[in-house]
Structure formats: C-alpha cells, structure tokens
Amino acid sequence: MGAIFRFIGAVFSRLSICSLVGVIAGSFAGFVFAIFEKDHPGLSLSTQQLFAVGLLLGVTGFLLVLYFVGLLLRYGVGPIFWPALVNSLLTALLTVFFAYWLKMPALYAVAGLLIGVVVGALLCRLCRSIDGGRYAKA
C-alpha cells in the first residue's frame, strides 16, 4: 500500500500546488461529465448549457479542493479560497467543453487532469507576476 502511494507521489511530485488544485478540479469534472454522458447518451447541449454544467462541476470541484487542500493538507481555507475558486471554475469549464468536443468518455477524467495541470501552471505564473507568488508558495 505504501509503495502505491509513493509511486503516485513520485508521478505528481514535480507539480506546483496550483497545478495540484487543477488536478482535483479537472479530474473530478471529467469524471462526473463522463458518468453524466454515460447516463444520457447522445444528449445534445447548447453552449449555454455546457457553460452551466461547467460552472456546476467547477463549484463542486472547488468544494473538494477546499476539503483536500485547505483542510486535509493544512493550507487553510482563507488563503486559497479565491485562487482555488478561479482555478476550479476555469479548469472545469475547459474540461467540459473539451470533453464535449472529444466525444470519448473514457478519456474525460484524464483530459481534465491534464487541463488542470496546465491551467494551474498558467495561474501560478500569473500569480507570481501579480503578488510575488504568495499563493504559489502557500
């Protein structure tokens, strides 16, 4: 069991905390959208409807981020609240639109995870240039 955890840790070890927040939000959004599509095969959604789905998944993913990163990993809810909210919403929206275009549910969660890594890395860079990286270093 310990070896599995260490392997997972090694795979993700090079990611910044911003990207790790994106990992949770993206993989969650991709996973739920895959389940949702499986439950409603062939469902056609407009851009506004996709946007609503993305927001819903983003807010739920944000709550998971607050628990895992803010509480469980002791970063605190206050310091990560706004950056994590922006990160989660952006990641979930991009994941939903990309997944809807991809039409391969088996890859949605993995795609979401990768989107989260990229969005997180970009936001980290943005944060560094704005506030000297308080969130990135938190």
Binding site: L20, F31, F36, L63
Partner: protein, 294 residues
Amino acid sequence: MPRPSCGINIPGGTSSTVTIVVGTVGTVFSIAGSAASVWEGVAAGSTTFPLLAAAVAGIAVFVTVIYFAVERCNQNPSGESGCMAGVIEIITPAFTGSTLDNGLPFTSQHDRVDVVVKKDYWDLIDAQSDFVFCSQADQSPMVPCFYYNPAVCNAGIGGSIGAGVGVVGGLLIAAAVVAAIGCATWILCLVALIVAILIVVAAAIIGAMTGGQIGRAATSQPGPTATGNQQSLQVGDYVTEQGTLVKYGDLDNALVFYFVKTTTLHGHSFNSPSYSHTDPDQNLIPDACPVIIG
C-alpha cells in the same frame, strides 16, 4: 565547522504528503472515469450512475484517510541511524500542532521535540538538510525529533474505519435523496448526481473525524520521555537523541529524527529559552553519542 544556514538551502518541490494525497484523488477519478465509461452493466437514465459517482468520490476521501493511517503507523521508515545531542528548545505534543488537529486527528503528526544541537553535529545538518530550523536566540541550528505516539496511528486507523462507515451510510442517504430528486430532465439528473456526491463526501469526512477521535481517545499518550527512567522531557533538558535520520518531505526536506529510538537525559539547563548552541557546547560534555575517531 561551517554554520548551517537557517531556512531553505535547497529549494524543494511540493511536499510529499500533498502530492500523494492530491495525486491519489486525481488517480481515483481518472481510473473510475475510464472504467465507468466502458462499463455496460447499467441502463442509461437509472439512479445507479449518481450513486456510482458518489461512491467513487467517497472512495477518494476514504483512500486519502487510509494514506494518513499508513504513513503515521509506519514505525520504521527507511533512513540512516544517527545520533545528536543538545538542548530542547520546543516540545509540540501530538494533536496540538495546529487548530485542525482536533477536527481531523488522523492528520496529526507525532510528538515533536526540537533540539538545539551542539556545534559538533553541524556538519551532519549542513550535509543532509535542505531546510534548517533555527532557534530564536542566535539562529542556532535545530533538529526536529519525532517520537512515535500510538494514539496518532490509532487516530488514523479509527479515521479510516470511520470514513468507510461514512461512505456506506452516505450512500444509503444519497440513494433516498436521488430517488426524491428524480431524473425527469438532464439538469435534474446532474443536480441529483452532484447532491449524491456531496452527501457521500460529507458523510465520509464526518465518519473520518469521528473515527479519528475515537481512535485517539482510546489510546494512552505518554508523550516524549527519556529512555530508561521514562521521565517526561521538558524544554531546557540536555538530551542525546539516537534514531533514524530522514529528510522529511513535509518539513521542506529538513533532516529530522523519524523516529527517535533512544533518548538519554543528561540534566537541565540553567538558562531559559530560547537557547544558543553555546549552552550545550559548554554544559553537555560529554554527550552519549558514540565517539568516531578518524
């Protein structure tokens, strides 16, 4: 002998616990997402999918709690044997490290004793520590020494059992709620799915908190003591610490004893905290570390 620089000497990455916990969550969702999408056992439009999604989210919480139990119950982490001596600067008992320790006891760290070490041991710290803790007095290097506390391990085990029970209980509640919401339109289905996830995750967290508290309360906590006479350690005690030295990821890869195996108590300093290395340098002669000649 060069004085180790306080703070970060070699910039490290994100701590091992953070990457493992987040990586585990991402892996659980990714594998479950792929598996669910190729699974053909359930008809579309059923209430099974929301419950399946909720179960996976609950499992993600459950597995992360198990990680803490595995990590905190490992009494023999790999590392080299080492010995250092000095004066105790700070004692942080288990479950008092942060305000979250009471709410989430399964995440608490073991008893920690920070020792201002004698100058003789600076070379060990300088060579092996990416981060150096220092005393307030004159920035003398300190080594965090962790003492295994069975209550921390049992809080992890209790938390794991509680999280598992919480997932099962949450799924039962979620089933009733999903049936009540129904799946008349796609948006209702999505709302039912998300509500089910939130119910099961909340139940798993509450279960982990409760189980952790039970595990903690059921175990006696002797606290850090000297070997032999079992005398409780105090701030200002002169000690020799022997145990396993590791670079600890959760403390920015600082060199720490994880865990201390033997503590020799030599007496008490006449000075008050914070301490300088000059105190044990002058007053702790000799210490109990084996002398290496050559």
